[in-house]
Symmetry: C2
Subunit: 348 residues, 2 copies
DNA sequence: ATGAAAGCGCTAACAG
DNA sequence: CTGTTAGCGCTTTCAT
């Protein structure tokens, strides 16, 4: 069964490709093509099950109606959920999505950006892991439509991004713990931590404990290498348990760290929240199912996705006319669950 | 900054596009082009940061080096993990991946298949939800490269598929419960259940309890509508708790059902495994973290993905020469955890 | 009311 | 050793 082309339809009807193309693209009336002819074209199209070659179409139009999404790892629940939301948003605008995982690797991300450009995607949504931001700078110079999500580059002005307020979210969570009477609060963060999301979360933590005049020992702030989360978290927890003062609360910088923390505490038979309270960034459906359920700082992924796609499409449509960039900061949502213990009545 | 094309390189060097094309595709030596010229081409290519337009290339070659993946929902942990594995496998062969979610909807899946064909993907990996399999039949007739994963169509002979042995996995899990002394074992399955994976799992359950001559009351086999898992599972659990005999074990047909079961049991304050033992299809990292941890029938997603991609690429490469189809059934892995209670010593 | 022809950027047969 | 030319399937200007 051969692929049917525009030309096949035209030949079979004894008309030109032009006519068929016009009709199929809805320009039939505009060009004054007889209703009758139009109907015949449509009918034949159905009959032969004609499928336009979008590749040829895109080449001609200089537009692929495809956008590229780069995240650290699509199998990560956070990004999977985000990707799904972005997929749906894109579809609404008639765009398709190519999703790629960078594994938090600079080189891989760069080559993905390159690959996606070669595939002629109309725009890019990137949760960038880049230390070396030159790739992004180039995108900007080329006026290539893109929007950053989750993480951004403060040193590159005038770029679109959509993020949550990491600093404030972190600060507020720690503040909550302090108000609950916790004095020795640890944070398990991630390394390398050039990512703005991580840096801002760290800063929120430090500022909150400094402001409250409680223990600010850097011993309490652990950096977990990205490549060995499970083992490193376990080691850190072990270290924290030996600390001179009793640590009563931990903030996890993301869900992967949280998972490892829960696992380690289970292993060391430390009870949450009786001995240690836990709060994590990113909410997962199952944090609610754990016993005890885990308090979380939830990112409204639907809102993030909605904005990211909207901005990108806008950028694509105004290509050339150097549009004013959008920088959206979305508030997160603190969900208090059973994993937080009140050491004293919360002050009002 | 204009996009640089093959022609720009050629003009700037005073040679033809052909020559440049040959060199860049590694046919320089074959066509006896001077080393010197070749080097100059490469150098200029770098200098101008030339990025080949893959769209044009694909159109010309009739090959996009892209494959399409259709799953029910990419935000579902099972499919997210699978997609990631498939992505990696594809990359190894130099292919890119377009991932789409069908939401278990016939119409959406059909239109996704159509869309991906229009985009000229070289092949398709589908976890199909179709009741009406005609779309697949057409693919087969057209000799379009595709492989089914997770679910297949027994009524369509000679198609590639990669699945786990659902029947045996289900049978064995239930058998384990029976051997542990359970007499009233419920199963929460999903509806509509035309999917082979679900049908086979159901059959394994029924055959196991029939064979053991224990309670085979169909009341114990609940069908949960796909659209309202959480509420329906809760209702089913409530119903099961009122059953004349005491139900001591539940098999969940997939992870979503399992999550809902755990949530419902938590709500009704039923202790796992003291009052009810639980086993689920599909393993999630966090099943291990729950207290108690949940026994699971784990699908080796890496093996599934590896096979699916390998077969598909093979199919693509032997296009035309109607290749013998692969039908791979992979054994699953039963992981016993704390959620299963021994009511009596297991017989040997 | 409809068609001819050019061209999007690339590759490959064929010519020199 | 290198260039000319045709063409992948589509859209669009310009004719008629």
């Amino acid at each position: 069964m051969k692929k049917v082309r525009l030309e096949d339809i035209a030949n079979k009807m004894g008309v030109s490709k032009t006519l068929v193309s016009m009709v199929l693209n809805g320009y039939g009336d505009k060009n004054g093509i007889k209703k009758e002819t139009q109907e015949k074209v449509i009918a034949l199209t159905r009959e032969l099950d004609y499928k336009p070659n979008q590749m040829a179409r895109s080449l001609r139009l200089g537009k692929s109606n495809t956008i590229g999404l780069i995240v650290a790892d699509i199998s990560n629940a956070f990004y999977a959920k985000m990707a799904r939301n972005i997929e749906d948003e894109c579809n609404k605008y008639g765009y398709n999505l190519i999703i790629c995982s960078s594994d938090e690797k600079d080189a891989k991300e760069s080559s993905l950006i390159r690959m996606l450009k070669e595939k002629q995607v109309d725009g890019l949504i990137i949760s960038s892991t880049l230390v070396d931001n030159s790739e992004i700078v180039v995108l900007k110079q080329e006026n290539y439509p893109f929007v950053l999500v989750d993480r951004y580059f403060p040193e590159i002005p005038d770029t679109n991004f959509v993020i949550i307020d990491n600093y404030k979210s972190s600060y507020k969570a720690v503040k909550y713990l302090i108000d609950s009477g916790h004095q020795n609060i640890a944070m398990l963060s991630i390394s390398p931590s050039h990512l703005t999301s991580v840096k801002d979360r760290n800063k929120g933590y430090f500022d909150a404990i400094k402001k409250a005049n409680i223990n600010t020992d850097h011993y309490l702030h652990c950096l977990i290498p990205f490549e060995s989360i499970e083992q490193s978290v376990e080691a850190s927890i072990e270290r924290l348990l030996k600390y001179e003062k009793k640590i009563t609360a931990i903030l996890a910088v993301n869900q992967n760290i949280a998972l490892a923390i829960i696992k380690a505490l289970k292993k060391f038979k430390i009870k949450i929240p009786d001995e240690i309270s836990v709060i994590t960034f990113d909410d997962l459906p199952f944090f609610e199912l754990l016993t005890p359920s885990i308090s979380a700082i939830s990112q409204p992924l639907d809102v993030i996705s909605f904005n990211a796609v909207k901005i990108l499409i806008d950028e694509i449509n105004s290509k050339g006319s150097s549009r004013k960039k959008d920088q959206v900061v979305i508030p997160s949502h603190f969900i208090l669950r059973e994993s937080c213990k009140q050491l004293k009545t919360k002050k009002t």
